[in-house]
């Protein structure tokens, strides 16, 4: 499995990661090597094997529908990069 520049650019965009142009060949090589390592899985017969998502196969617990969390907006926003008047600030989205 060999990934090229276009593949890396597409994956990096999906993952919202900026990658320097001259570094793309390094990622292409490393990711291709990892996919080569993974390739051997395709040869294993897995008909009728149920996928295992979780080691203990427990189901989600339910709890009473009661409020358990208190509002800690100020506390949590103290560590935010940019806030104003209780809002998180980001670059303008709508002109």
């Amino acid at each position: 499995m060999s990934l090229d520049r276009t593949d890396i650019e597409k994956i990096a965009w999906l993952a919202r990661l900026s990658i320097a142009g001259d570094d793309i060949p390094n990622y292409a090589r490393d990711l291709s090597n990892i996919l080569d390592l993974v390739k051997q899985l395709s040869a294993i017969g897995t008909a009728n094997v149920k996928p295992m998502a979780h080691p203990l196969e427990i189901t989600a617990r339910l709890r009473e529908d009661k409020i358990t969390e208190v509002n800690q907006r100020e506390h949590f926003q103290k560590i935010a990069p940019a806030v104003d008047n209780g809002h998180y600030l980001v670059p303008k989205v709508i002109e």
Partner: protein, 484 residues
């Protein structure tokens, strides 16, 4: 005093031979003078530690102290500590002061343990050498030119060099056991769900599990007594009752059936490592255990399965770092996309970006079935192998790591070779089983560990076996030169 185990220090505190403040001071001073050699701490917390130690001394004086009250511990910098920087070894969280405590930290605080600092680690726990940390590599106290293992490398080096009598760690593919093996200490990865993941920064949620790194199995049992247990804030926390892990340490192991996987002791394994592990097993046979050859036929598939499942979960978990609510934010973003892409591109290191991209790829449309679903199916085959084997034997023993610590930079440009270091450890995470690594001898003056794997929730039995082994061997008592 720093030479003593946690159990010995606990006795010294209760007999009032030393106060918690004095003991904490000893370790803080030792860390100050020796950390520059090892780089095993990202943050030291002396004021916080001394305040906790003062409170512990009051408890000891008025008779309300428990067995862990007043004993120092270092936390891997992956556990959120309220009001204290929690970096996860990443530039992304270099400015992150956690606004709450992880359950593990909360429980150990409640037991009276003293937090002396936060230990270095591979970035977001992704690595087997501690070289991916934003804060630089940790040195192995047994040879400063070598890695301590990872990702809990700072915790392992600190305990091995006697800078802390115990430390917390996390294990997603071997990150407690592998550094324990490379640094000659004891490291327990509990059953998945045994220790709460709340406030433990997530890497791969179906594999991550916290546990103790200590000098002895007895010390690990003491720490587990406080760490383990159900937590309603962790949706995958196990409801199983918690045993007193110290109660059965001295039980007989007569009749114990040990399985030796043929696949672990094949011709690929270094003969010195193989001989050391066999000699260690022989010690258990002398104590009455029996051995049996077993098969784990799909074990060679664990690394490829892991490198689909773990990156897939990582790409999803690390989507939360967006430069908006906390963590690193790039300078002067021109629009929202630029804010996301540059904050993440600049905030994450190379290995983390590799894994996010692999995860993104295997989960993307058109590849999901071929990679992710397939890996989950083979994960079941690997788990079933263990279940079949554990129906005929009580425990499984093998090497923890294929060899001793490697040199710094030796594998840094060869991710695949680095991944293969975890060949004996990742399958245990895929199956969700508990396993402990204990010192089993030396190869060219470098430590080699033995891994003991048990069935779900058999931590008490594993620690019992490890303890009995440590009663008849002295590998775990060896101290690296320059730190005694």
């Amino acid at each position: 005093m720093y030479q003593k185990t946690l159990a010995e220090l606990s006795q010294a505190l209760h007999k009032k031979e030393i106060s918690s403040v004095e003991l904490t001071q000893i370790f803080l001073t030792r860390c100050q003078s020796l950390n520059s050699k090892l780089n095993c701490f990202i943050s030291m917390t002396p004021e916080h530690a001394l305040a906790q130690a003062n409170a512990a001394d009051v408890q000891i004086r008025n008779g309300t102290a428990g067995p862990l009250t007043g004993l120092p511990i270092a936390h891997k910098d992956i556990f959120c500590t309220n009001g204290i920087k929690t970096s996860c070894g990443s530039k992304m969280l270099d400015n992150f002061i956690a606004p709450y405590n992880a359950t593990v930290v909360e429980r150990l605080n409640a037991s009276g343990m003293i937090t002396i600092g936060k230990t270095n680690m591979d970035e977001f726990a992704m690595g087997s050498s501690n070289e991916t940390s934003y804060y630089g590599v940790v040195k192995n106290p047994w040879d400063l030119k070598r890695v301590p293992g990872g990702s809990s490398g700072g915790s392992a080096a600190a305990v091995a060099a006697r800078l802390a009598p115990a430390a917390t760690g996390t294990d997603t593919g071997g990150s407690i056991r592998q550094p324990a093996s490379l640094c000659n200490i004891t490291g327990l990865k509990p059953t998945y769900g045994r220790v709460s993941r709340y406030g433990m920064i997530a890497f791969a949620s179906s594999l991550d599990q916290g546990g103790p790194l200590t000098r002895t199995a007895e010390d690990a049992a003491m720490v587990m007594n406080a760490m383990a247990g159900f937590d309603k804030r962790d949706s995958t926390s196990a409801c199983e009752p918690v045993e007193d892990y110290t109660a059965k340490l001295n039980d007989s192991i007569k009749g114990l059936k040990i399985g030796l996987p043929m696949e672990y002791f094949d011709e690929m394994l270094d003969s010195t490592v193989s001989n050391l592990v066999h000699a260690a097993v022989e010690e258990l046979v002398k104590l009455g255990a029996e051995i049996k050859d077993i098969n784990l036929p799909n074990s060679h598939l664990s690394i490829p399965v892991y490198y689909v499942v773990a990156p897939a979960e990582c790409s999803s978990n690390l989507a939360r770092y967006d430069g908006v609510r906390f963590g690193y934010r790039c300078k002067d973003p021109k629009d929202l996309s630029d804010l996301y892409c540059r904050s993440r591109g600049e905030g994450f290191g190379r290995e983390v970006k590799r894994r996010i991209m692999i995860g993104t790829y295997v989960l993307s449309a058109g590849y999901y079935d071929a990679y992710y679903l397939k890996a989950q199916q083979i994960r079941r085959l690997i788990r079933d192998d263990f279940q079949k084997a554990l129906a005929t034997v009580d425990i499984i023993i093998g090497p923890t790591v294929p060899g001793p610590a490697f040199k710094i930079n030796e594998l840094m440009n060869d991710p695949i070779s680095m991944y293969l270091c975890d060949i004996y450890t990742v399958s245990v995470n895929l199956a969700g089983l508990p396993a402990v690594s204990v010192p089993a001898g030396f190869m060219d003056n470098l430590p080699i560990g033995m891994q003991i794997i048990g069935n779900y929730f058999s931590e008490s039995r594993l620690l019992n076996i490890a303890h009995r082994f440590q009663q008849v061997t002295d590998w775990h008592q060896r101290i690296p030169e320059g730190f005694n």
